[in-house]
Symmetry: D2
Subunit: 505 residues, 4 copies
């Protein structure tokens, strides 16, 4: 399919780009692992997210809440911040701040034994809300003592995770969640009124009712609320085979309708109109064994999402940065459908590059469509992204002719980075080389080498506009930059002459 983008001087488009605001992570205890740290360091080096959010701050492997009878016969309640401090130190060293999610329940404080995940996060209310409030306050106070209020006040605080699902909150008990929220929000503000707190962190099940009731509750009791949060997944029904879940994806328009409804509800409350909504999790599938996550289709589909999610939301946090993750157990292979942008072995998946490309799109948006977005930067150059997920032109090649305003006689450098099923598809390489369960470092290195965008460049000249083609194969995503350039060749240097040299025949 052929199509055209024609940008004229002065064109504007709506595009709020928060692609690099926040990213998801496996449970906090996994942040102690070396492979986790390496993957996160890689992500930060190339993308550089500002915040990171995940579960398990208060789960027992973080070892914060301690309650044991001593040899003296007395029961001691104590707080151990050894691991928390280690994790936070590492985050800050990598220039990423926590978006704190308060949960799950320490076993010794839990009112029941219901757990979620292979790693058994307890999802029951506290047996004693005062104890919970004390845990929250002690932890936040400790963090402020260690890092200073100027730092910690930048860390948003979210209360629990997906209480509208019975697996994550016993019975999906709405009133109990409101109790938890109120108790927690007041505890947070007691520590410092500069701290920001929000909820209800729901996902898309009975979400409209939850959102409305939550806001009513907060409003009626005047409970602190600084921002609203929800999740967003776009897969259809899972089809399970062995360790894996295959899915198809919802049509984007349907997926977005759900989110828009949340925005409407929030805005329908005069006190909350325009309040920040953070999508604290999103992805295509919501399970960590969905091979779709490893594909180029995922990358192209997510590009489409990134182009639109900022229209009405303050942020949207892709779930997750890496594949050190144990919700459904330990992965058997590096390409086992984990959520991560990076596969184990520090191999970037195609969707990694979607984020790497979008984080460059800073400036004034001049064009946006269903399959492309273009911005103009401060120095006058253009940066853009185009994508061709299989639904867009039904799996066919898409050839976009892009035309941008230019100065006559000026040279322009065009840089294109391509991620598609042919040139940047480590999943295919891994498959073709035998689907090795735990590749040795040598094979990992090859997979990494096979997981980089292809780079091409061109020198262009135009009259009042400069034009070029972006050829997108199925599920491709392309990034481009167009910059004015003046070539001052060194004395005697000629690229054309260089290329004309040959072997005498």
């Amino acid at each position: 399919m052929k199509t055209q983008i024609k940008v004229k001087e002065g064109d504007k488009a709506l595009f709020n780009n928060h692609a690099d605001f926040c990213i998801g992570t496996g449970r906090m205890g996994l942040a102690l692992q070396e492979e986790y740290q390496k993957q996160l360091a890689y992500v930060q080096d190339i993308i550089g997210f500002k915040y990171i959010r995940g579960h398990g701050l208060f789960s027992d492997d973080m070892a914060i809440y301690q309650r044991r009878k001593g040899f003296d016969g007395v029961e001691h309640i104590e707080y151990n911040f050894t691991y928390l401090d280690r994790v936070m130190d590492n985050y800050l060293k990598l220039n990423i701040r926590p978006f704190l999610e308060l949960g799950f329940m320490p076993e010794k404080m839990a009112s029941g034994d219901q757990t979620v995940f292979y790693w058994k996060g307890n999802t029951t209310p506290p047996s004693d809300y005062e104890e919970w409030a004390k845990l929250v306050k002690t932890t936040l106070s400790h963090l402020i003592e260690r890092y200073g209020i100027e730092e910690v006040k930048k860390w948003p605080i979210e209360v629990w995770n997906e209480p509208n699902l019975p697996g994550f909150w016993k019975g999906a008990d709405m009133q109990e969640y409101f109790k938890l929220y109120r108790c927690t929000a007041l505890a947070v503000k007691e520590v410092s009124c500069e701290l920001k707190v929000g909820g209800p962190a729901i996902c898309g099940v009975d979400d409209e009712r939850w959102m409305r009731e939550f806001l009513r509750f907060v409003q009626s009791l005047n409970v602190p609320l600084d921002f609203v949060t929800r999740h967003h997944y776009t897969s259809c029904q899972l089809q399970i085979d062995g360790h894996y879940s295959y899915i198809d994806l919802h049509k984007p328009s349907e997926a977005f309708a759900v989110l828009e409804k949340s925005r409407e509800i929030v805005d329908s409350f005069s006190e909350f109109k325009g309040m920040d909504i953070h999508i604290t999790e999103f992805n295509t599938s919501y399970v960590p064994n969905a091979p779709i996550h490893d594909t180029n289709l995922n990358a192209a589909y997510v590009a489409h999402m990134l182009s639109k999610l900022g229209d009405k939301h303050a942020s949207y946090s892709y779930w997750t940065f890496g594949d050190v993750f144990e919700e459904m157990g330990v992965a058997y292979t590096p390409f086992s459908g984990g959520f991560g942008l990076v596969a184990n072995g520090i191999i970037p998946k195609p969707t990694f590059w979607t984020f790497a490309f979008f984080k460059e799109l800073k400036g004034e948006a001049v064009f946006k469509s269903e399959n492309a977005v273009i911005v103009k930067t401060e120095d006058g150059s253009y940066k853009g992204c185009a994508w061709n997920p299989d639904f867009y032109c039904e799996g066919n090649e898409l050839n976009i002719n892009v035309s941008l305003p230019c100065t006559e006689g000026q040279n322009y450098s065009l840089l294109i980075k391509t991620v598609d099923e042919e040139c940047c598809n480590p999943l295919k390489v891994w498959h073709d080389l035998g689907e090795v369960a735990t590749p040795k470092e040598e094979l990992n290195k090859l997979l990494r080498d096979a997981a980089k965008p292809q780079i091409t460049t061109k020198l262009l000249q135009g009259k009042d506009s400069v034009a070029f083609d972006l050829l997108l194969t199925k599920n491709a995503i392309k990034y481009f930059e167009l910059k004015a350039v003046t070539i001052k060749s060194d004395r005697g240097y000629s690229y054309e002459r260089t290329m004309a040299q040959h072997v005498e025949l």
Copy 2:
């Protein structure tokens, strides 16, 4: 053009692969530089040469030979090994040993003031041959004291460089060189008879006469000679413009004729028949401002050379590993036609990959032609290289159908790495982005990313043979591996099903 390679079980070919034996370097004093060390570390990490050879061991920037009148009025001759030790330590740390070239002349020991290069290597005989012998002996003895004779005896020692050129040896005085050679060889053996010494290190000017006379001289006086050395460059006449020299290349057959003559001459002496000949320098052009070095044509042409040079030579040392090099001054840009496999900024040039590919070709050769070589490795897999320099099919695309013996029903993984003008041509990217004279790190990073081979894979099955195409565009070089593989997919995992997932329409 279409062609075919058909290998049958039991096929054999002549292919002595010494591609990773030795590599050239800018003068030894430059080995103190950080950029030099980084480039060499990169080369060693990916290619891993065994030896390194360059000029300038005794030149004054190495500061070995010191002769100064002290405040006491007495003239002191001293040897300073501070820099030499630093350089040798670094070489050994990078797992590379020196192939020692003894030269040039320290200014204070020189008989004249003739120099070569921008960096002014003195190319006159010693004013006192005893002083020279003492310098050689003291230096070698010091190295043995520091590194042990077991180590140093592995370092071949070559006497001077290209004495058949008047620029490199005053007057190209043959008798004077013989005097130097004899004095030096005896000094070397005096230090230890386990040390190996050779010459005459000539290049292709009046080379037949020099080779013959040198061997006669050595023979007649029974001078120690452990190996023979010469150089090999294959460019036609230079065409100079500003800082640059443009060249065309000799037809390979003509180029090889010169070398074969040397082999014949050596073999014509019964004492020297079959003696190792080390080509201690080779490249296409012999000047460090020849843009040809930066091209894909160079890579493809050198691939052809590497396939043949081992037929009659013990080694052949590409001149040079990197572009920290000052023979014609300091380069104005990173792509200024330097000899290096790696451009400044640690950017691998296409020819870098020719070596990276050839060093993998260890095993038993089963096929060799003018544009391809294939080996079978110990584990039964095949590795090969094919190239298409512009002369081969006159600049057209070459499509080689390769057929290799296989086991019926067995799956095979095919891995292909491609370096061509489209996909691995940092010179073009640098040009298209404006020929920036000194790129900042960000641009260097982009250039490095654009300088990596493209990796593709396929799963194949055959009956008695397995076949695949290698499509080589002009000046392309391709590396491939074919390995038997058994795919044990994890329970429930299906690559086909993964790729069939889609967006609902």
Copy 3:
């Protein structure tokens, strides 16, 4: 107290030094952690142990044994080696091999729910011995497939841990252990007869009976046994206060008596006479909350042990290399009495240096006493260690005058490294600076700087002997080297004159 060591030419002493053979570790799952890897890398860099041994290979956090009902309703037993491979890759990269301990029981295979430690290692027999044998065989076969039999056959295999304690093996059931041992040993040999297997891994409770019965059992049924293992701890009764256990230490002579009894028992069986006994764990206290581990007394006491343990044992593995360890929960501070040679924050404790010093003592022993050992190395120099644990001269200073044979007129360099309560006592620095629970990196750096041996040197000359003093304060340990040296001062250089320069008054 003053004392003297006088070594004469030709003196010999018994000293089998296996100090760097093996080291203990927290459970294998902790090897995934970054802090663990950093501590181990530090240990390997300076000491370089050959083997590492710890618990938990088959515990559930390693995720090897998987048994779950799938969505297909069928129960699947599977083996997941993702984490095991990651851990083994890391060990080998750090040049350390596993001394495999087979245990504890995967929950899904366990016959009961008894667990040990905060991290809940299941210590009950398998519910099905065939399943266990299959787990052992599948795991070992996988390791051989990945690393090769040449490598894996170097990894000793020990069956379970401390079965003579009811906490570690349900009921301390001897017959059940023999059953486990036999089943396991046969499984190991079925995989490869080149693999080495041993037991009974007992500690010092009812140990004589266990050792005797075990050997009888093995003998009577002709069960494979390649080596014998046991543990060794030397603390008196614990006195507990809060999180900590205070102890005093046994007199060394009593401690050694226990071990000698084991040797006697083994040697009393003609088939086992002289068989290797590996002490697969030893330390002063046997709990990870014993502040004694962090002290200089511990370092001096362990030095004494290291001087003697090799007399009758093939190895002795200090328990443990580092403080990433959770047997009694997560430590609240970096100096909480963990077993580690290295405290969290990568701070070497005094005992770290005991090992660093002993691993240098390679050569021929020429002297050994209760507080010193001296070896002569191949190049003729002397290396030695001396220690002054508080029991030796009742907490007083010990001044040893050492006299060694020498060549008249020769200069000798004496190098001394000192670790004592004044100069290398990070525990004191941490205490004096406020006992900070989780030091930030800046404080950790200071603690590391305060945890290095003091280095002093002297130039000596002797007649037929050269003598020097080693002044050992309470709990000090000193390492020394004495080497013949010839000072060739650079022309004009005078150290004495340098030191005589002054400020004009």
Copy 4:
């Protein structure tokens, strides 16, 4: 000797601390070397200077000024910034900015062939002042283009070096220097009036006349002048032996008198009163073969200087950070009396620690004497330094009792770092181990370990003051910190009880 420091609440002292403002370096061409970069990285990691100043920006090894006849017969004047950019990139990466010294003369632009140093810096005026101005302008414009004016305007620019010495400026021709200064200053301001320029960079020979005449000249012609520069060395007459120069040092009071005279002269001009004077070089001896630089005496003497130099000067740049330096040739050993804070092999000399200690002394000065300075920091803690150069109490031990204000009942942590001839004297260790000319890495590591300050700590309590002793052996320097601390021991932890554990007798 015993003495006392008693600080009372509210005490103030004069102490302008610019110890970390600027540091000297060997010629800029040496900044390409790897050892140089490693030494500088070490210095920056621990001290972190803001600026770096050295010679040779325009010397030929930097290759900036190029003038050659091409093959076309035309002479080309060109500027090559390949090396300059590499050096500046590296500086900025290490967080250090250049304090630019414009000099020496490119050979092709020189009016004569007089050179200075082993490395032959040409010290004659330009043959054409317009050519010189163009070189200055082109270079500065290039730097601004590359790094931006916001960055480059922070780089002070100094015109030439020590023109009052005939070796550094032909004939020490004052009028010629004024001509150069004027031409250069105008060129600098033509590039940007935001750039800052200064001179006359004189050393202590005929310096009063030079300073006065220079200011008169600048004043009379209204030549731009933003700051004044001079040098400061304090050694008495050299006594030369072989490669080395032995010196004694001037009494500090005499040394400072010279500087005060400069300040007076500057202040005597109404236009220049209070103008910044940068001491762009200082050290004890002015030659790089003075063993004094490697001593503890040097460290203690420099500490005294650092305490006073800020009284009247905007900065004072120690000459130099490291020992990659070739003014008198290549050093024969790592301790050959080079200027560097760091010896080759990356070994910090005692004087390194003087700077490391002084850079901590930020805050409000509360005490300064001839042998100590104390500041109070924002958080209420005290930091101080004390020194005992041999002149202070004639080589005897000095025991200072320090008393500081405190809060009754509060605990205080005292941290002391000691550098003296016993505990931090790598020169002695190097000597005692045989004065090895080029140590291998293993020995370098030992020397580095022997070159670290000894760290001791104490817990103190006071009433209205807290007191402690600083015992300074001859040439010692001590750094201390006193901080209020509250020890919250973990439950059950007792340091006293820990230390009381013992071996049963």
